[in-house]
């Protein structure tokens, strides 16, 4: 039985010493090779959880295991070879080309004084191809549309050759067409032994491609499991505190909010 890609055990995190817990004894075992969507209202702790997994934030109690090893046992470089982050909005100030930008993902494999080599360039090229934007390779990142920029960021994260890809609200500010494109790419990435963990506030995006769903509210896990089990009206209503109905349309779940 393959160990979970990420095993989150009783993680509690507070931003202020005496404040409310942003994460309250969160426990979840993310299955390897899954596409797990983290859903929840604003302030439920979704982004906080990602940051803890990355190691940006230290939990006050609990543990995180990545690929069977304790997270704090990894050096930062090692961890970044395993986990890649696609942030919500990457603001690139200078006009790097898409290829040069993707190449930045090779940082975990280069030490301070090294410059990217042929093999690094090959990996970056492959990442661009798997995301489907190799035609844009030499355009400046700053000239891309929203969706294309998001894909470029995905490519950059892929260049890290990570086992786990973390995405923070990847489609939240994209229009339908671009969102569809990005989701499609995410789905295709799964097929290479990768685990994908992503946050979103749109349940319908989750139903499009997720295999597993993690529901959160107020820093607590409401439910976690395969899509079919967790994406139900009652659970979603409990999560969002609004009446939610889930209906089946041509074999696909659609989430509707009641008036």
């Amino acid at each position: 039985m393959t160990p979970p890609a990420i095993d989150i055990r009783q993680v509690t995190f507070r931003y202020a010493v005496a404040g409310t817990a942003a994460l309250d004894a969160v426990t979840a075992a993310i299955p390897a090779g899954s596409i797990t969507a983290i859903l929840g209202p604003n302030g439920s702790g979704k982004s906080t959880l990602l940051h803890v997994l990355l190691g940006l934030l230290q939990p006050e109690s609990g543990a995180v295991h990545v690929s069977g090893r304790a997270q704090h046992g990894f050096s930062r470089r090692e961890l970044s070879r395993i986990m890649g982050l696609v942030p919500q909005d990457e603001h690139v100030t200078f006009e790097l080309s898409v290829f040069e930008y993707a190449l930045l993902g090779r940082a975990p494999y280069l030490n301070l004084l090294s410059l990217p080599r042929e093999e690094d360039r090959a990996v970056a090229q492959a990442a661009l191809e798997s995301v489907g934007i190799d035609a844009l390779a030499h355009r400046p990142v700053t000239s891309l549309s929203g969706g294309e920029k998001q894909l470029a960021t995905v490519a950059r994260a892929l260049t890290q050759a990570p086992e786990v890809l973390l995405l923070d609200e990847p489609t939240s500010h994209l229009d339908l067409a671009n969102a569809r494109r990005v989701l499609g790419v995410m789905r295709s990435l799964r097929g290479q032994g990768r685990t994908i963990l992503w946050t979103t506030h749109d349940p319908n995006a989750a139903t499009a491609i997720a295999t597993d769903v993690l529901l959160m509210r107020n820093g607590r896990v409401i439910a976690h499991g395969p899509l079919a089990e967790v994406m139900t009206g009652p659970l979603l209503t409990a999560t969002y505190d609004v009446p939610v109905q889930v209906i089946d349309v041509e074999g696909r779940r659609v989430v509707m909010v009641h008036e």
Binding site: L79, E95, A107, A122, S130
Partner: protein, 344 residues
């Protein structure tokens, strides 16, 4: 680690190839200008020194070897340092509108040098160290102040903070000038602030080279990291980059080199601001090419201006004035053209 699926072998883009070629062109042009500059001067006659003079006139030989050559090298060094610092500051602070002038480094270094002249004895080493210390302080104050301003986006905040800190140090320098002994100290300060490479001798070069060369090497070796540091902190972290440490090393190298150079030559403005822009435009934004490109272009620009400063008229023109005039004119032209490449 998952298996790397390598696709088609990536072609070096035409852009990249062109960028590299252009960097090489800049290097060649710089060497050529250095050679030409050896023949420019006012002795024995204005503008061009004929080969016969160099061959036969002992004074001409002495002037070329002891005055012109170190001055030319000095100009090259100054240009490289200011441009490299400019690129580093711009990428680290993710702000194409800054250079050491805007971030309180130059104003701080001036203050430090003036303080050394007025109150600390005025020995050359003291001036250099004082300029370096206060230059660094200027940068730190600008950065800290920028994080505390609650107006505008990061770009604006940093520039505002830098302007405020620079103004503070400038008034400090004015106060020192007011208190200075007009016979001894004031002329030294005033001359220093005008910015010039008058009579830069081999001794001066040997004093600043041990600081400048290693610092430039550090920045050059770490140039790819500049790309990384221009990303968000979060992203850099996720890429395993110790952003704080790397920024510190690069900033320290930039400030030390700038302060060392400024302590000998005074304030020379605008090079650090516009040369990185033009270099990026010409050879690409990737720091792998933009940094060496900017360094070469900065050296060219400064050397060109200094050649004019010492050759055009019978009297010396202050270099700082020339670089400001030319730099400001080019900057205005660029801004009109397309907003200096800033993207929202």
């Amino acid at each position: 680690m998952t298996e790397i699926r390598t696709g088609t072998l990536p072609q070096v883009s035409d852009q990249e190839r062109q960028g590299r070629r252009r960097v090489a062109i800049l290097a060649v042009v710089l060497l050529a200008l250095v050679g030409v500059s050896l023949f420019l001067g006012r002795y024995p006659g204005p503008y061009w020194t004929p080969l016969s003079a160099l061959r036969d006139d002992a004074l001409a030989q002495r002037l070329v070897l002891n005055l012109r050559l170190p001055r030319i090298l000095g100009a090259v060094m100054v240009g490289m340092v200011l441009a490299a610092s400019g690129v580093s500051f711009q990428m680290i602070f993710r702000n194409p509108l800054v250079d050491s002038g805007f971030l309180g480094v130059s104003a701080g270094a001036s203050f430090g040098a003036s303080l050394a002249i007025v109150a600390l004895g005025g020995a050359p080493l003291t001036i250099q160290i004082s300029a370096a210390v206060f230059g660094t302080l200027g940068l730190v104050s600008s950065y800290l102040l920028g994080t505390r301003i609650r107006y505008g986006d990061w770009v604006l905040r940093l520039v505002l903070a830098g302007i405020a800190v620079s103004a503070l140090y400038s008034s400090g320098t004015s106060l020192l000038k007011y208190a200075a002994d007009p016979l001894r100290q004031l002329p030294e300060i005033t001359f220093w602030m005008l910015g010039g490479l008058w009579s830069l001798t081999w001794a001066d070069i040997l004093q600043i080279a041990p600081v400048v060369v290693p610092c430039l090497l550090v920045i050059l070796l770490l140039r790819w990291r500049l790309n990384l540091l221009s990303l968000r902190d979060e992203t850099a972290y996720s890429l395993g980059v110790s952003a704080g440490r790397e920024r510190l090393v690069l900033l320290l190298a930039a400030v030390l080199a700038t302060a060392a150079v400024v302590s000998k030559t005074g304030l020379i403005g605008w090079v650090g601001l516009i040369v990185p822009h033009i270099a990026r435009r010409w050879v690409g934004s990737d720091a792998q090419r933009a940094l060496p490109g900017a360094m070469l272009l900065g050296a060219l620009f400064t050397l060109f201006c200094d050649d004019i400063a010492r050759t055009a008229l019978t009297g010396e023109l202050p270099l700082g004035i020339l670089t400001s005039m030319l730099g400001a004119a080019i900057f205005m032209a660029l801004m009109i053209r397309d907003g200096a490449g800033m993207r929202r």
